[in-house]
């Protein structure tokens, strides 16, 4: 174990996997010489050279498509989209192609590829640069989706993603890059897909989150403890595969649940998580499940307004209190 940032943990995962397997390559806008817009690819060009670490033109759809083709051709590409907002320029290759080719070609091909994309709001980047689009990926079958909340998971999930033979959308939170935590040094340390992380055990209420929302939920739980409310905090870790069993069991036990999503509330993935709890724990629930979500607005620039749009520790605390108060 050593303490490192989420950014460095990702960087280490990339390095370890590139050392282990020469088929692992990476490319994207400014990932090589500039070492990444968020410096996640620092040192890769120097260590692995231009063949395996490449700057691309600003052509997101082609970044995604080149990864598909390279994966078909026997490589294990890790493509970077500079942020998830630009994935909207690549939806054709990601949704129409990446998620479909294995199926439509009758299982004759597989795509061992990863598309990394920093995500999330909170840095006053305004409407076009602050989106949380995880629902778009979770909704579409045919790809895996990982979204680490901690440095250890950042390393372990990215390594698993690179070794997985399915296409993986790998979402990183921009605000978490500088967060620190203990990370196993073992180069065989992997975090399996489809297994929630029970970050904190509790008995009164289940909080389900992912990415930065899991981190905020954990902070909310610490506050709530002071009020004598015992929260179980569950980080989904991967949105696909979804480890439904873990959060359903927890919610059935506590009888109360709050789902925290950074994305827009309407038709967001949180509704599906909440719905699964309602459907499966209907007779065990002591109160309706609550969703804490991003506001249904384009993100405003002004920090005063932006703050209102993103779930906060206070908002989660408030929701938990409401769920505790409600009793049927």
């Amino acid at each position: 174990m050593s303490e490192m940032t989420y950014r460095d943990a990702l960087n280490l995962a990339l390095k370890e996997e590139m050392r282990r397997d020469p088929r692992v390559i990476t490319f994207g806008e400014d990932v090589a010489l500039y070492e990444g817009s968020f410096k996640v690819t620092r040192g890769l060009l120097a260590e692995f050279g231009e063949d395996r670490v490449r700057d691309s033109p600003i052509s997101e759809n082609t970044i995604a498509g080149v990864a598909i083709g390279a994966a078909m051709g026997g490589m294990r590409p890790v493509a970077e989209l500079m942020t998830i907002n630009f994935a909207l320029l690549a939806m054709d290759q990601l949704i129409n192609h990446m998620a479909k080719v294995r199926y439509m070609f009758g299982g004759q091909v597989f795509l061992p590829m990863v598309v990394r994309m920093p995500s999330g709001g909170g840095s006053q980047l305004a409407a076009q640069h602050s989106q949380s689009l995880e629902t778009y990926f979770m909704h579409c079958p045919g790809m895996r989706i990982a979204y680490p909340a901690t440095p250890a998971d950042a390393k372990g999930l990215l390594k698993t993603a690179i070794r997985d033979d399915n296409p993986v959308v790998f979402i990183e939170h921009e605000i978490l890059y500088n967060s620190k935590g203990e990370v196993p040094e073992d180069p065989e340390f992997l975090v399996p897909f489809g297994v929630c992380n029970v970050m904190r055990e509790g008995t009164d209420v289940t909080i389900v989150g992912y990415g930065r929302m899991a981190v905020l939920s954990l902070m909310a739980a610490a506050e709530l403890e002071k009020e004598g409310i015992s929260c179980e905090v569950i980080d989904l870790r991967t949105l696909n595969p979804l480890d439904e069993a873990t959060f359903l069991k927890s919610a059935a036990r506590t009888g109360r649940a709050v789902v925290v999503e950074e994305c827009w509330r309407t038709a967001g993935l949180g509704a599906d998580i909440a719905c699964r709890i309602f459907e499966n724990c209907f007779d065990r629930l002591l109160a309706p499940v609550k969703r804490v979500s991003g506001l249904d607005v384009p993100m405003p620039y002004s920090r005063k307004l932006e703050k209102l749009c993103i779930p906060s520790v206070a908002g989660i605390v408030e929701a938990v209190r409401e769920v505790m108060a409600a009793s049927y």
Binding site: V66, F105, G106
Partner: protein, 325 residues
């Protein structure tokens, strides 16, 4: 009489070209019939008229070269060596289909033949072709990637990004534009700022040429030359094959936007009878031998239909298979 063709190819090869074109045509015309009968459903885009492009191109390539196409992909797959039985079964949606009935007409695929798929999103195949070329280059393989596409697809952003990227990274891609003058009902002049499509590559410093896509030999020679050039230099190249589809865009299209005069001119340029005449004129074969080939192709396609008809439907459980590894 002295034969120019014989200087290029053996008699067997030349007759092979003829047979492949006839087989493709027969296959497509049979598909039309099966569609009318309701055995084939969904979209059905036929290749009749364009056979010289698929046959000439494929002949100019090596077996290890990758090929990608759009949705008008039957002939390209069959010419590459796909089993007509399994292609027809795919179109019938049967379990024995080349993609287990999951892909249908627009999504043929056979990795053993390095036939890397038919794609139904116009221009969707471009970046995948570039990625395959990148993999081939990294692995220092000899292979090149051939990407078929239509005139209409060149107005998509994907086209531009692929051309630029493949030249910046210098990847072995052979772009084969099948200019049949129409994207559905829109004639090329109304969709492309520069209807001389091969000249579009000037903005990417990619060499290009135009070839008669109704002449299988012309296509073959151009592709062979281009493939060698690409293999040596590891850089993209572009060929515009001027051709014509004899039918509508798909079975749903009566193609009323084309004058009958225009259609007749192009019918007179049908790559099959014209090549047949040339083979006879140059003394390579006679009509009886060609008739025999025709009959063999007809029988081959009939067998494919029979195979498709008799094949089982997929099991219901198949619906959940082949999504994840």
């Amino acid at each position: 009489m002295e034969s120019k063709l014989r200087e290029l190819l053996s008699d067997a090869e030349l007759l092979g070209f003829y047979e492949q074109m006839v087989l493709s045509r027969e296959f497509e015309e049979s598909c039309a019939e099966q569609y009318t009968k309701g055995h084939i459903t969904g979209f059905l885009h036929l290749y009749s008229g364009q056979e010289a492009v698929a046959v000439g191109t494929t002949a100019g390539l090596q077996k290890e070269d990758y090929i990608l196409s759009a949705y008008r992909d039957h002939a390209q797959a069959i010419v590459r060596g796909a089993d007509p039985n399994r292609v027809m079964a795919e179109l019938f949606g049967k379990a024995t289909g080349i993609c287990k009935g999951k892909g249908g007409s627009m999504h043929l695929f056979d990795p053993k033949l390095n036939f890397m798929g038919g794609y139904a999103i116009v221009a969707g195949q471009f970046p995948i072709a570039v990625g395959l070329a990148f993999a081939a280059k990294l692995k220092q393989e000899e292979r090149i990637v051939t990407c078929f596409f239509g005139d209409g697809s060149m107005n998509q952003g994907n086209f531009h990004e692929a051309l630029n990227w493949s030249r910046v990274w210098d990847l072995p891609v052979l772009y084969i534009c099948e200019n049949n003058f129409y994207g559905i009902g829109t004639v090329v002049q109304r969709a492309s700022a520069l209807p001389a499509l091969h000249r579009r590559t000037c903005g990417y410093d990619i060499p290009s040429e135009k070839v008669d896509g109704m002449d299988v030999i012309a296509v073959y020679e151009a592709v062979k030359r281009a493939a060698a050039w690409i293999r040596e230099r590891q850089r993209p190249y572009f060929i515009e094959a001027v051709t014509y589809r004899f039918r509508g865009h798909s079975m749903a299209d009566p193609a009323t936007y084309r004058s009958s005069a225009e259609q007749e001119i192009w019918r007179s340029r049908d790559p099959i009878p014209n090549f047949a005449k040339r083979l006879i004129d140059e003394g390579i074969t006679d009509q009886a031998a060609l008739d025999e080939i025709d009959a063999r192709c007809t029988a081959r396609v009939e067998e494919a239909v029979r195979f498709a008809e008799e094949s089982p439907w997929p099991e219901d459980s198949a619906v959940w298979e082949d999504i994840y590894v």
